[in-house]
Symmetry: C2
């Protein structure tokens, strides 16, 4: 290792430490902080964020990177590390300060306007803010790469290496099979959701969550389960990754699958360890948002909604449910948690329709950036997309184009990650199945450790030492291919719905 | 306000913010942090402590203080603020860095040696460390004030304005009446503790704690109750003061009185507001450790163990206890929580014997510093003091001179604060009673708000704008006088034990 790399690691670690302190403050704010503490907490967070930024833009980092980039004898890990650090350093330093301030102010006003607009179902009042955030994001993209198409630059911020064209290519394939599968399901008799309306105490739901965390191999010596308004996973230290869930008394699968989903994220974070010398650095972070999502979805959907998994674990959950669950049996439970119903709201979507919600957003936001769609036409374009993809459309904008916060914050290029996560998950799963063999049998026997071990070795450990593209290629032997997800869905849902 | 004061406030607030961030990290560490997170958390805390130190030793503070001290037109609040900041600044800057490092290292080794020595009941192995910590504390004192007696300087660190002589004066008076009262109690038939052995679920104890927090006026919008190995109060923000308690399943009064005690500390912290312009500064901190302790003791002992208080609140607690409390009635409960029994361990002592435990420590530590006691003779001197004051002595050192952590950390001059707190509490209480009148009747009617309001106005609000000596003089019209505590104890215990 070059001495410049060693010094870079030192500076990077100091930044990570500050970032983790910020995570402690934020975690506390979302879970246990008394309400009136918010004012000073904002000041505390601003101080820590300022300190983190200061550490991230240290000119010494720039000098070290330049020196390392000029060398031709970097080892592969060093090379990956320089790539990651260059990316982060550019993101932190390429924007003029006046732009950062202006952006933050505009985003804050835009979010407030969005919340108000959604409440009043009044897209027109939000439109100028959306316009402004698009303009600012064009500007943002031009600071990072003035030669590329702005939307490509934005996409790359979330999923390194992806472009509108590369995403469109896989999404177009996915769109046609999702529409086809949905059509087949719609033609079958609907499944009854036997979990709906069962009243399950919070305590019981918490016990179920803790049971599942243990089953998944989420080590409580390095993590926690708490409660927050919206479930999340957060990293407060290399050995401190916490999740939250939320309990709905009349729909217990909600907390159950939130816990599995967030545990999937936490297992990823806890498993990252690309190289002992790079602990506490940015190399020891997730490969991308979509890869992160692949881990949560793999556990939540592919394993957590599988018949095999519940063959072993349903009795334990039924025992915890007691009387509340007496009308549930293994098969009706597994059927209930796999119902496919086209709906208006993305966050409530099932495995089949979820991708269609994302495709709609991707097509709309890329059209906005390509200049093929005007902001004022978004509501109608949204309805048209939903009608085409899901066969339903919201008469109002509140449950239509105003449902998600992302655009109001300026997070364009973010949505695709959610669906790419499903594609990665299916491709990883297909490979894992081929390599481990009889994995469903083992899962049905209560053994999920082999899955975690495989994910650790092949995905988690690596952190950012491979780009998402390199990762999928290395692990599965081919580039990201939507066919894996298609096979998975067809096999699963033809069985469930009998088409 | 002078512009130098305004700038000082600005620098001071930046320090407070960092200190509060440290408090969030520590609170989390004591309550919810997963065990394996400890390593990185220590690094996070070290970073924040380093930053706090950096802000506290800013040379600009020294310049501003010098400029302000040269002026003769400071207003009274400004004057107090300069006094407080000078004190803090000297403490942070007068020690050479090499000394600070050496001290920290020695203290850490000494604490480890103490823990081992206590486990093995082996004072001899701890003696050299104790010797070293005494030597280092002499040195510490000499940096702060080379002309004063070292123990006076150390005492002043905890209780500003106090000296060995001033403490000895009040402690000698207290000693004689405590010994007298204890003798009278010992001559009476002992009270039965009807709370011992009652099994009370943790949930029930938590409900009792929450009930009492509400009764005392501890606003949950600005605080929390959690669980930790040792109960404590901590300030994470001006509007964020949290307490912890611990639950013993076979002795519920333990959590009950811990909660009242810590609530007393929290109410003090939450009530500090010497002047709107000084919010977030060190002027808005407690007057001293002993004054802090006076608030916790006043609520815990004077109010929380009074018959009047339980006349109103016993039914609610009995209702929460349910079957577990069916053999308790108001009188037997109040008698049980006021039993006086000489014991070996300070932290388990009752109101009467507690002061004797502290006097023993004060006399021994001041003799060590005055050169009238050698370290090797501590165990025997400890036994002699306990025999004299409490009439019992531990055959081993584990429950004798090795029972407390304080000396191993080098905290000499700390113990007196605990007993001074009882004296302040009784003197404040006597004054409050005279001014409010029929306060017991109001408490017996469930009204404790008048007590909190009086404490807020007379003590809490002021923060450090008065020294402890000025505070007691201003509030009660006289210097600290142990006679108030004597009157309180004689009146209370002659009734309880019938002497």
């Amino acid at each position: 290792m070059h001495k410049e790399t060693a010094r870079l690691i030192e500076l990077d670690r100091a930044h990570t430490l500050v970032a983790h302190i910020g995570a402690v403050l934020s975690w506390d704010q979302e879970t246990y902080m008394p309400p009136r503490a918010i004012e000073e907490r904002s000041d505390q967070l601003a101080l820590i964020e300022g300190l983190a930024h200061q550490k991230a833009v240290d000119p010494e980092i720039g000098e070290l990177l330049a020196a390392l980039e000029a060398k031709d004898d970097l080892d592969p890990v060093e090379k990956a590390y320089v790539r990651v650090m260059r990316r982060e350093y550019d993101r932190e330093t390429k924007f003029p300060e006046a732009f950062v301030t202006e952006y933050a102010k505009a985003a804050s006003m835009s979010q407030a306007a969005w919340a108000e607009a959604r409440k009043n179902n009044d897209f027109a009042s939000f439109a100028p803010h959306l316009e402004r955030m698009i303009q600012l994001n064009r500007e943002k993209a031009s600071y990072l790469n003035p030669l590329a198409r702005p939307y490509d630059v934005l996409l790359d911020l979330f999923e390194p290496g992806s472009t509108r064209a590369s995403v469109a290519k896989v999404f177009n394939v996915m769109k046609s099979y999702l529409v086809d599968i949905l059509g087949r399901i719609n033609a079958c008799p609907q499944i009854e959701d036997k979990c709906h309306g069962l009243r399950v105490d919070r305590d019981v739901q918490e016990k179920i969550s803790r049971y599942l965390m243990k089953v998944l191999g989420y080590d409580r010596a390095r993590g926690r389960l708490d409660v927050s308004a919206h479930p999340f996973t957060t990293t407060l230290g290399a050995d401190d990754v916490r999740i939250t869930t939320r309990y709905l008394e009349d729909y217990f699968p909600s907390s159950l699958f939130s816990t599995i989903h967030e545990s999937g994220h936490a297992l990823y974070e806890l498993g990252i360890d690309p190289h002992p010398e790079y602990r506490g650095t940015r190399l020891a972070e997730a490969a991308s948002m979509a890869v992160h999502e692949s881990q949560s979805r793999l556990w939540e959907n592919i394993i957590g909604r599988s018949h095999a998994f519940w063959e072993h674990h349903f009795p334990a959950v039924a025992a915890l449910l007691g009387e509340a669950g007496e009308n549930l049996d293994l098969d009706s439970f597994v059927a209930s948690i796999n119902r496919v119903v086209p709906s208006l709201i993305r966050t409530e979507a099932d495995e089949v329709t979820y991708g269609l919600h994302v495709i709609a957003r991707f097509e709309l936001e890329s059209a906005l950036f390509e200049g093929n769609l005007k902001v004022q036409d978004v509501p109608e374009a949204w309805r048209a997309a939903y009608r085409e993809l899901l066969g339903i459309a919201s008469p109002d904008d509140r449950n239509g184009c105003l449902q998600d916060v992302h655009w109001s914050m300026g997070a364009f290029g973010y949505f695709p990650s959610y669906a790419l996560g499903n594609l990665y998950a299916a491709q990883f799963w297909g490979t894992l199945r081929a390599q481990l063999q009889v994995v469903e049998t083992r899962i049905a026997a209560g053994e999920t450790r082999c899955v975690l071990d495989w994910l650790r070795t092949n995905i988690h450990q690596r952190g950012q030492s491979l780009t998402p593209g390199e990762l999928v290629e290395t692990v599965t032997g081919s580039a990201l291919d939507p066919v894996w997800f298609e096979r998975y869905l067809r096999e699963k849902y033809s069985r469930i719905y009998g088409f």
